[in-house]
């Protein structure tokens, strides 16, 4: 494309500034809105995944091969001899895709208070490490989370606490089959209660220190059931891939299975996929709307310039050059608009990611498909989507200018000039 044509294109655009600006406004606003939607969509997916995983599940879990899903108490990592837990955890954490990792022990038993008992799942954790991979500690409603100060302290769901009639400070007995077949039992103190909004947790989960659970079920300190992992990228495909890679790597020391959350919580994965598909279709619709707007704009602009274009032909511009001119104009217009749209959109996108969209209402924590989400809807940058949309719009702008451009090239200058 010759420089002269480009300069002409540029000047043409600015000769009718108002028309150009209106067209630019249309395209850039359309783009900005698509950015807005893409950002919210990505944020929604991320949020849904996180809240499904950030309470207890975590993004990925490492188990002995036959441990999941039945969770036989004897199937510890590294077999009966266990393993060096801190080395294992450290080894996992060195992987750049891993944000944090934490060891866990599970049990199932009877929680007994003075008058009532109920069955519950027992989870033994290392409090400071656990807090790096899950956020249950943010859901405390009474008392406090586990601390080192009270080694035989437990934290339970508020519904469970109500069912068996205990308060913070109450003493309870935990009764569970131990690994050696005996009936593990001991006294514990309730130090806190949490409320997640998820019945399965509030009614069924007791958290305690990993050491005290190991004592209760007669597991030596080196024997754990699981390492919970938090990943930097918890997207379905990314998480699954990372899990597979970790599995290969860890299997070199002893047999393990590493499962990412889509495998552990298929309903959640299902919902994410469902949502993704619905939003894709919506996105398509929005895109169509934007495209229609652009096509319309381009078309009208050309039609309005019939005289002007006719004149160019009359003074000797070749039809091919005319088409080139118009395409150049469209390209510059599109480029400028996209840039403008991105510029306008960026602060909004930033705001969405950092502060979120307030959903309003007195809802407090919201749970979604077994997952808890706050009252704020956070956006997340999805640069792939942004670029794809930009390209799509740019191509549309150019293509939609092409048809009328070709028409214009076939103008008979005399007729065109006669147009008013």
């Amino acid at each position: 494309m010759s420089g002269r044509l480009l300069r002409l294109a540029w000047r043409n655009l600015w000769r009718n500034a108002r028309r150009t600006l209106i067209a630019m406004a249309a395209i850039s606003l359309g783009y900005a809105m698509l950015l807005f939607v893409a950002c919210l969509m990505a944020g929604l997916r991320q949020q849904m995944v996180e809240s499904g995983t950030d309470l207890v599940l975590s993004d990925a879990e490492v188990h002995a091969p036959s441990y999941y899903p039945d969770r036989p108490i004897n199937q510890t990592l590294g077999g009966r001899d266990g393993t060096d837990v801190s080395t294992l955890v450290a080894g996992i954490t060195t992987d750049p895709r891993v944000e944090a990792a934490s060891p866990r022990v599970y049990g199932y038993g009877l929680v007994s208070a003075t008058h009532q008992s109920a069955g519950a799942q027992l989870l033994g954790v290392v409090p400071d490490q656990e807090q790096k991979i899950t956020v249950l500690q943010r859901r405390m409603v009474k008392g406090s989370y586990l601390t080192g100060r009270i080694p035989k302290g437990v934290v339970m769901g508020d519904t469970l606490a109500t069912t068996i009639g205990v308060e913070v400070g109450s003493e309870i007995v935990l009764l569970t089959p131990a690994t050696d077949g005996s009936t593990g039992n001991d006294l514990y103190t309730v130090v806190g209660m949490f409320h997640t909004g998820l019945d399965s947790m509030d009614r069924d989960l007791v958290l305690m220190s990993i050491a005290s659970l190991q004592d209760l079920v007669r597991l030596s300190p080196g024997r754990i059931h699981e390492v919970g992992i938090k990943l930097h990228d918890s997207d379905i495909t990314a998480a699954t891939k990372t899990a597979a890679a970790l599995e290969m790597q860890l299997s070199k020391s002893f047999p393990v299975r590493v499962r990412a959350w889509p495998e552990l919580a298929p309903e959640l994965a299902d919902y994410v996929i469902f949502n993704r598909r619905v939003t894709f279709i919506l996105f398509l619709i929005f895109f169509l709307l934007a495209v229609m707007g652009i096509v319309n704009t381009m078309l009208m602009a050309i039609v309005a310039r019939t005289r002007e274009l006719g004149m160019l032909l009359a003074v000797g511009m070749r039809p091919v050059q005319l088409v080139g001119l118009i395409v150049a104009e469209a390209a510059i217009l599109a480029g400028g608009s996209l840039f403008l749209g991105a510029a306008l959109g960026s602060p909004v996108l930033w705001y969405l990611q950092v502060h979120g969209l307030y959903l309003g209402g007195s809802r407090g924590a919201i749970s979604l498909g077994g997952v808890v989400v706050g009252p704020l809807w956070y956006g997340r940058q999805d640069f792939t989507a942004y670029t794809q949309v930009a390209l799509g719009l740019a191509v549309t702008a150019v293509v939609s200018a092409l048809y009328p451009a070709l028409r214009a090239a076939r103008f008979r200058p005399t007729e065109a000039l006669r147009k008013v």
């Binding site: 919210l40 909004g197 469902f274 929005f286 319309n296 979604l368």
Partner: protein, 429 residues
């Protein structure tokens, strides 16, 4: 005002001076409405479906239980027999039968299910197969064997996870053990649980819902058998009601409450009986809301753009009109008239296209699988086919909003037209 009428007529004829252009523009605008309607239908439809699928795994849109059952789940809280029949008659009566999709009385309890290989705690549901089929999704998720037959006396369907754990197949033997409900009036202290009863069952079918908690713990057996086991003939502790539309939940609950006044029952909507589920859909609703806003904004933008462009390119024409004596106000009115006419045509087109495609999606549904060759395990919980749902309210509000937007937006170009400067506008170049 004859003047206005004339102006509008002129406006109308202005439109048709360039029939192709006008139609194209109308189409463009109309498509905006079409897409709005489609996306609304899609959003509403998928939301509705999400809710319905979810409540079908639980207590339906509305549930009738003995008072206090929701809080305690105590086995002693049973529904008086007359409640079930009264409610049944009422729901099947003229007034409500068209909103009803199914009604299933159930007896729920927990127990222990054992096989030769293993044993596991279970949540048992005594159901009437015919009714349960209309309400629950479990009958639709049978993967081996069959669901319970209508006249079957004894049998059980269990989840795939449970079947695996107990190592049983269809036709295999399992023993269900549970505690009978203590007769009312027995001494308090030790009578919180009654006698332990057990019964032999043959596995009729195995289901897989994809939800771990259900596949590993839920079993369904014929209601009379469950009643016999628990020692409560003719009693149930829950009646789950499924409606055609989620939107009717509140109304139905209220009507039932009124019908059952005085009786010790609680009638809850799904939002009350499954609050965590309800909260999940808040986010989905918020999502809907935001999306609606975006679509509307984009359509509005399109309208603005189109109308603006139309007007701005006709400086000469307006200049001429002005020169011929038309006052600015009249010019403005003419422009507005045009815009409204254009909008009206667009809306008509858009509505036609929109309602047709919406109807298609409402009946045939939009099969998401068509769009995605899934590399991940197929969605078990969420139906891959979305059926569009569009209420008259939604259609009316969409049309109304678009019309209003178009009208308001046309004021700007109308203003611009009114301010046409004479000598300048007439200049050809």
């Amino acid at each position: 005002m004859a003047g206005v009428l004339l102006l509008v007529k002129i406006g109308w004829r202005n439109l048709w001076r360039n029939p192709r252009g006008t139609l194209l523009t109308a189409l463009a605008l109309g498509l905006g409405l079409t897409l709005l309607l489609i996306s609304l239908g899609l959003l509403d439809g998928s939301h509705e479906q999400l809710v319905r699928n979810a409540v079908r795994f639980g207590t339906g849109h509305v549930v009738i239980q003995a008072q206090g059952y929701q809080d305690t789940g105590s086995l002693e809280l049973l529904l008086p027999a007359q409640v079930v029949s009264t409610a049944g008659e009422f729901m099947h009566g003229e007034a409500l039968k068209h909103v009803l999709r199914g009604m299933s009385p159930r007896l729920l309890a927990s127990g222990l299910l054992s096989s030769a290989a293993n044993a596991s705690g279970v949540s048992m549901m005594g159901v009437i197969p015919k009714e349960e089929r209309a309400v629950s999704l479990i009958p639709k998720r049978i993967v081996e064997g069959n669901y319970l037959n209508d006249d079957q006396q004894s049998g059980v369907v269990i989840g795939a996870e449970l079947a695996r754990k107990l190592a049983v197949k269809v036709g295999g033997k399992v023993v269900l053990m549970t505690q009978a409900v203590p007769a009312p009036g027995t001494e308090a202290a030790d009578a919180d649980e009654g006698e332990m009863q057990s019964t032999l069952l043959r596995v009729n079918g195995i289901f897989r819902t994809g939800i771990q908690a259900i596949d590993a713990h839920v079993i369904q057996l014929p209601l009379p058998e469950a009643q016999g086991l628990l020692g409560v003939p003719d009693r149930v502790n829950q009646v789950a009601v499924l409606l055609e539309r989620e939107g009717d939940s509140l109304m139905v609950a209220r009507s039932l409450r009124k019908q059952l006044t005085g009786l010790p029952v609680e009638v809850l909507t799904w939002r009350e009986s499954m609050p965590t589920l309800a909260q999940s859909f808040v986010l989905d609703e918020a999502f809907n809301y935001v999306m609606n806003g975006v679509v509307l904004a984009m359509v509005g933008l399109g309208i603005l753009n189109t109308i603006l462009m139309r007007v701005l390119e006709r400086r000469y024409e307006f200049g001429l009109c002005s020169a011929l004596g038309l006052r600015p106000v009249q010019l403005a009115v003419m422009v507005v008239g045009e815009s409204l006419a254009l909008t009206a045509i667009s809306l008509a087109l858009g509505l036609l296209l929109g309602l047709t495609s919406q109807h298609y999606f409402a009946t045939a549904g939009l099969d998401l699988r068509w769009f995605f060759k899934s590399s991940l395990p197929s969605a078990l919980v969420f139906d891959p086919i979305i059926y569009s749902r569009l209420s008259v309210t939604r259609i009316a509000s969409s049309v109304g909003t678009v019309f209003l937007t178009a009208t308001v937006i046309s004021f700007y170009p109308a203003l611009k037209a009114a301010r046409t400067e004479l000598p300048g506008a007439l200049r050809v170049f």
